[in-house]
């Protein structure tokens, strides 16, 4: 641009010099500088706006990746190592019954009519799985950890993610095959370390995600349970355990007591020495 202008300007000034006796006219530096300055300013403003928008879009995209939406209903499917299963909700068992869960820790299936309180609760002692699963049905995320492997700083990191945060619960799970296991209804992810970034991504994707849990709007409050949590049962469920497709369907009659439950052998509560097996 400048060179073309220059040659033309030179030609013009030569012509001007020929047509008059006045000394050759100086090049219009003022105009050139003004034009460049205006263009530079405009380019700068545009560049600034563009970079702001771009940075914002990148940030939004990073957040949106793990945010459930109309177009991204279950972001957790992008997580490395995620395990998903379809489970039917609202199938209940009695406080004395066990469920023969197909996963350890379980993340769906029949469960106790009492949900484990999931109002950002840190359970110091291991809790009965049949109650925890009901919490998942209400949209909670349950972080289970192996108490032999996760202690001190790592445990403190997990507690900060849970304590007081609605729809979160944390509990030890004796014999867990990985240090940490995250459960949401129909979803599980096992990780080695408390600072694994997939923990927050799992929570972002699944905590109260209306597309992935059965009872949208259900409460996590259960003060009776919180005052006296049902203890974890380490023994493997017996032959009388409720199968995964069993349980009483309470989807129409939740809150009403139906027929007497099968009062078979109550589970032995006690030592958590034997790891549960799946």
């Amino acid at each position: 641009m400048t060179s073309g202008k220059k040659t033309k300007a030179t030609r013009n000034s030569v012509a001007a010099a020929r047509s008059s006796v006045v000394a050759s006219k100086p090049k219009p530096w003022g105009t050139i500088i003004a034009v460049i300055a205006v263009l530079g300013l405009a380019g700068g403003v545009f560049g600034y706006a563009y970079s702001q928008i771009h940075a914002n879009n990148v940030k939004e995209a990073a957040l949106a990746k793990w945010k459930p939406s109309d177009t991204n209903k279950d972001p957790s499917t992008q997580l490395a190592g995620i395990v998903t299963k379809e489970y039917k909700g609202s199938r209940h068992v009695e406080a004395t019954q066990r469920v023969a869960y197909d996963q350890t820790p379980a993340f769906g299936g029949p469960h106790d009519a009492q949900w484990a309180d999931c109002t950002g609760v840190v359970y110091d002692k291991a809790v009965r799985t049949e109650n925890m699963v009901h919490g998942l049905e209400h949209g909670a995320v349950w972080i289970a950890y192996n108490p032999d492997q996760v202690k001190d700083d790592a445990l403190a990191k997990l507690k900060v993610k849970v304590e007081g945060i609605p729809y979160m619960m944390l509990s030890p799970f004796p014999g867990l095959d990985k240090p940490i296991s995250l459960q949401s209804w129909g979803h599980q992810l096992k990780v080695e370390k408390a600072d694994d970034e997939r923990i927050d991504q799992f929570v972002s994707s699944l905590l109260r995600n209306p597309n992935t849990y059965p009872e949208v709007g259900a409460s996590c409050e259960n003060t009776a349970f919180l005052s006296n949590p049902a203890p974890f049962v380490a023994e493997k469920p017996g032959a009388d355990a409720v199968p995964m497709d069993g349980g009483k369907d309470d989807s129409q009659t939740e809150g009403q007591q139906g027929q007497q439950p099968n009062m078979s052998t109550p589970p032995a509560s006690g030592s958590a020495s034997t790891p549960p097996s799946s």
Partner: protein, 229 residues
């Protein structure tokens, strides 16, 4: 195009075309920049859903969470208090706040936003308030997540206290502090949210909770107790 410069020494036609071209380009660039900038979150555009991090989204997420604890405490009092007056107040708080939470979560769902804050940083949407101490809060073990909120030990104490005058007083103290702690959020959103219905709800919370705050102060005085320090 090749016309010679005129005798007065003004730039040639070519130069004029170049200058005009540059001016047009500059105007187009500036226009494009303005076009980009008016779509930035926090701009005055009200047609689209509020963006993540906006006052509307932040208020609905954080106030829902703040409310949920209020509901939790009120439900404990509703279940356990032996005092009709306290049980009535607890029912009023729990049912009103649960209904408000439902509204806010419904809006968040429409906006494709999380129904609660999962960033771990609360109230960052209030940052331009210029009021020190109302800025973002981050979870810390043993500290309330947001102003006025009870910590786990306080909730456990409330849950396990025997029913009676002391229980009622402790509930009123916790709930009074909870109401007062939440009011700066409602105040901020009542004037700065972009959606009129969010401003209306925030304003309503501010006013109704202010009168409940006075009521709880009276109830405490009646029972010979003072608010928490």
């Amino acid at each position: 195009m090749t016309a010679p410069a005129d005798e007065t020494g003004r730039p040639s036609g070519v130069a004029r075309v170049l200058v005009i071209g540059a001016a047009v380009l500059a105007v187009l660039l500036l226009g494009a920049a303005v076009g980009l900038l008016v779509k930035l979150p926090g701009s005055t555009s009200t047609s689209a859903a509020p963006a993540s991090g906006s006052v509307d989204v932040g208020f609905c997420q954080d106030m829902s969470q703040h409310h949920l604890q209020g509901i939790q405490m009120a439900n404990i009092a509703r279940d356990r208090s032996t005092d009709t007056e306290v049980r009535q107040l607890a029912f009023d708080i729990a049912s009103t706040q649960l209904e408000q939470v439902g509204r806010m979560k419904g809006w968040l769902m429409m906006w494709n936003e999380h129904e609660q804050n999962i960033s771990g940083v609360y109230m960052s949407w209030m940052n331009d308030s210029g009021v020190h101490g109302h800025g973002a809060t981050t979870p810390e073990a043993g500290k309330p997540l947001m102003p006025g909120m009870a910590v786990t030990d306080e909730l456990t104490k409330l849950r396990t206290m025997p029913a009676g005058r002391d229980f009622d007083v402790y509930f009123l103290q916790l709930m009074l502090r909870h109401h007062m702690g939440g009011s700066p959020m409602a105040e901020y959103a009542s004037t700065r949210a972009s959606q009129p219905f969010v401003r209306t709800l925030a304003d309503n919370m501010l006013k109704s909770q202010a009168s409940e705050t006075e009521l709880m102060k009276d109830y405490l005085a009646k029972r010979g107790a003072a608010p928490l320090p």
